[in-house]
C-alpha cells in the first residue's frame, strides 16, 4: 500500500523547526573560540584559551571526576534496586502492584523542584547524625541521585520483563530450578541488554542532574553541572562554551555512530 507522504508545507515547517532545535547547539561553537574573557563572538582572532583553561584549571577535572564517581555509584545502586523491584513485581505479582509501582515512580513524576526540596530536607536531617552521607558530600549527592534516577530504571526493566515470555521461567521452574537459578540463569540473561541500557541511561541522568544537585550542594560537592551553573549565572565564563562544545561533540558522535551502525546492519 502506498503511504500518504507529508506534503511540502509540513516538510518546510519541519526543516525550520529542525534549524530551531539545532541552532543553539551550533551557536556554542564560535563563542567557545572567543579571545575575550566575556561571552562574545570572535571577529578577527580565534583563540583556544578557553579550551586551555579546561585543562589548566583543576576545578574542571575535579568536577568531571566527581560527576563520574557519583554517576557510577548512583546508577549502580539505582539499577540494582530497580532490577530487584521489577523482578519482584513480575515474579510474585503482589497485591497492590499498581500502588507499589506508583510509589516507585514518584520521584520521576513529581515536580523536580519539590523532589529537590524533599531531598534537601532529607540530607540536612542526615547531616545532624553523620558527616558522610550528608548535605554537600559526594555520598549524599550519590544517594539523592539514586532516588531520582531509579524510577527510570524501573520503567525500562518492567517494560522488558513484560515482553519476556513467562513460559521460559515456568519451564525452568518445572525442571526444578531454584529461585537463584531462575533469576540469574534464566530471567536476567534474557534482559541483559535492557540492564545495560538502564545502567547507561541512569548514569547519563545523574551525570547531567542539576535541579536536585543545586539544592543539596554548596561548596564541597561541586559536580560538573553545578560548576557550569556557577559560571552561567552572573558573569558568563566562556569556558562554559568550551566544555559545552566537548559535551555536544560526545553526544553527536555517539548518536551518529549508533545511527550509522544501525543503517549498516539494516542493509
Amino acid at each position: 500500500m502506498i503511504q500518504l507522504r507529508p506534503g511540502p508545507i509540513p516538510l518546510i515547517l519541519a526543516a525550520l523547526i529542525a534549524v530551531f532545535l539545532l541552532m543553539p547547539l551550533i551557536a556554542v561553537i564560535p563563542v567557545s573560540f572567543t579571545p575575550n574573557r566575556y561571552l562574545s563572538v570572535p571577529d578577527a582572532e580565534w583563540s583556544l584559551r578557553h579550551y586551555r583553561s579546561l585543562i589548566d584549571k583543576p576545578v574542571w577535572a575535579e568536577g568531571i571526576w566527581l560527576s563520574i564517581r557519583i554517576g557510577l555509584v548512583a546508577s549502580a545502586v539505582a539499577t540494582a534496586l530497580a532490577t530487584a523491584f521489577a523482578l519482584g513485581i513480575w515474579m510474585l505479582q503482589p497485591r497492590f502492584a499498581g500502588l507499589l509501582m506508583g510509589l516507585a515512580l514518584l520521584p520521576m513524576v513529581a515536580p523536580p523542584v519539590v523532589s529537590a526540596l524533599t531531598l534537601y530536607f532529607f540530607l540536612i536531617t542526615l547531616s545532624k547524625v553523620n558527616g558522610i552521607v550528608a548535605y554537600d558530600t559526594w555520598a549524599g549527592v550519590a544517594l539523592a541521585h539514586a532516588v531520582m534516577i531509579a524510577p527510570f530504571a524501573v520503567v525500562l526493566i518492567s517494560v522488558a520483563l513484560s515482553q519476556l515470555d513467562r513460559r521460559i521461567d515456568l519451564a525452568a521452574r518445572s525442571m526444578g530450578a531454584g529461585v537463584l537459578t531462575r533469576v540469574f540463569g534464566v530471567i536476567l540473561p534474557n534482559i541483559r541488554f535492557t540492564l545495560l541500557t538502564a545502567l547507561f541511561l541512569t548514569f547519563v541522568l545523574s551525570w547531567e542532574e542539576i535541579g536536585v544537585t543545586l539544592f543539596i550542594t554548596s561548596v564541597n560537592a561541586v559536580t560538573l553541572p553545578r560548576l557550569m551553573w556557577m559560571g552561567l549565572r552572573d558573569n558568563i565564563d566562556p569556558a562554559i562554551a568550551a566544555i559545552s562544545v566537548v559535551l555536544i561533540a560526545i553526544v553527536v558522535a555517539v548518536i551518529l555512530g549508533k545511527t550509522l551502525w544501525q543503517l549498516r546492519k539494516a542493509k
Binding site: M1, A14, A27, V41
Partner: protein, 270 residues
C-alpha cells in the same frame, strides 16, 4: 508477605520511603509550622499579590510553551512517522541529539545566540538593521524559547505512538473519495490522533510547571516562575515555611493533572 517479597521489593521501597516519602512529610510539616504553627503560609501563598503574580506568570508561560512545543512536535512527528527515509532520518537526529544534551548546555546555547554580544545581535548589527543590541534574553521571550526547545522532544513520543496507530485504510478511503490533502489532515488525521495530542499537552504542561533551570538562566531573575520562587524562598530570602507551602500546592496540582492524564489514557484504551 514472604521473605521473597521483602528481599526483592523491600530495598527500593525502603530507599524511597526513607529518602523521599518521610522527608516530604517533613516538608509538609515545615509548611504548617514555620515560622509559627497554623495555615498562615497557605493563606499567604493563595492571597499574596507577589506569589499570585508569579503563579499567574507561570500558568501563562506554561500555556504558551505547551501550545508552541506540541504544535512543533506534531509537525516533527508527522514527518518522522510518515515521511520519506531521508526526512525521517534527519528528523530523528534533530530530536535525539537535543534530547541527550543536558538542559544546562541547551540553555547556554540560547545565551550564546541571544545575549547582547551573542550571534543574533552580532548579525543584526553587521547587516545594519539595528544599532543597539536587542534585549532577547533575560526576559520572558528567552524563557519561552528555551523551554519550547527543551520540551519538543518530550512531546514527540506520545504523538508518535498515536500517529503510528492511525489506520492507513481510513486515509486511503478518504483519498479515494476525493478529499484534498488539507481536508484529510484537518478533518481525519488530526481527530484520529486526538488522544496523543492530549497526552502530549498534559505531559508538557506538567513538565513546564515544575521547570527550574531554564527559566532561572534565561529569565535572569526578571521573570521568576513558581519553581524558582521556591528556590529563592529556601536559599536567598529565607522563608522556609512559604517555600514548603508552595511546594505542597505544586505537588497537589501536578498530582491532579497526572490523575487526569491516567484517566484519559485509560479511557483511550477502552
Amino acid at each position: 508477605m514472604t521473605s521473597r517479597h521483602i528481599l526483592l521489593l523491600g530495598p527500593l521501597l525502603l530507599l524511597l520511603g526513607a529518602a523521599y516519602l518521610v522527608p516530604f512529610l517533613g516538608v509538609m510539616q515545615w509548611s504548617v509550622t514555620l515560622p509559627e504553627p497554623g495555615l498562615g503560609q497557605y493563606r499567604t501563598a493563595l492571597t499574596d499579590p507577589l506569589v499570585l503574580g508569579v503563579v499567574w506568570r507561570t500558568l501563562r508561560i506554561c500555556a504558551l510553551v505547551t501550545v508552541l512545543s506540541v504544535a512543533a512536535a506534531y509537525v516533527m512527528t508527522l514527518v518522522w512517522v510518515r515521511g520519506g527515509p531521508v526526512a525521517r532520518l534527519v528528523v530523528e537526529l534533530c530530536i535525539l541529539i537535543p534530547f541527550w544534551i543536558s538542559v544546562l548546555t541547551r540553555a547556554f546555547g540560547w545565551l550564546a545566540l541571544l545575549s547582547n554580544k551573542g550571534l543574533v545581535n552580532g548579525w543584526l548589527q553587521t547587516i545594519g538593521i539595528i544599532s543597539e543590541p536587542l534585549t532577547l534574553v533575560r526576559n520572558e521571550f528567552g524563557v519561552v524559547l528555551g523551554m519550547v526547545h527543551f520540551l519538543i522532544p518530550f512531546a514527540v513520543f506520545p504523538l508518535a505512538s498515536s500517529m503510528r496507530a492511525v489506520d492507513e485504510r481510513v486515509l486511503m478511503a478518504t483519498r479515494g473519495m476525493g478529499a484534498s490533502r488539507a481536508r484529510i489532515f484537518w478533518q481525519v488525521f488530526v481527530p484520529m490522533t486526538k488522544s496523543g495530542i492530549l497526552g502530549a499537552v498534559l505531559l508538557v504542561f506538567v513538565f513546564a510547571l515544575g521547570f527550574f533551570v531554564t527559566p532561572a538562566i534565561l529569565g535572569g531573575g526578571r521573570s521568576v516562575m513558581v519553581a524558582e520562587l521556591i528556590y529563592l524562598r529556601i536559599f536567598q530570602s529565607p522563608d522556609w515555611g512559604l517555600g514548603a507551602a508552595i511546594s505542597v500546592i505544586l505537588m497537589i496540582a501536578v498530582g491532579a493533572l497526572l490523575a487526569l492524564m491516567l484517566r484519559q489514557t485509560k479511557g483511550a484504551a477502552r
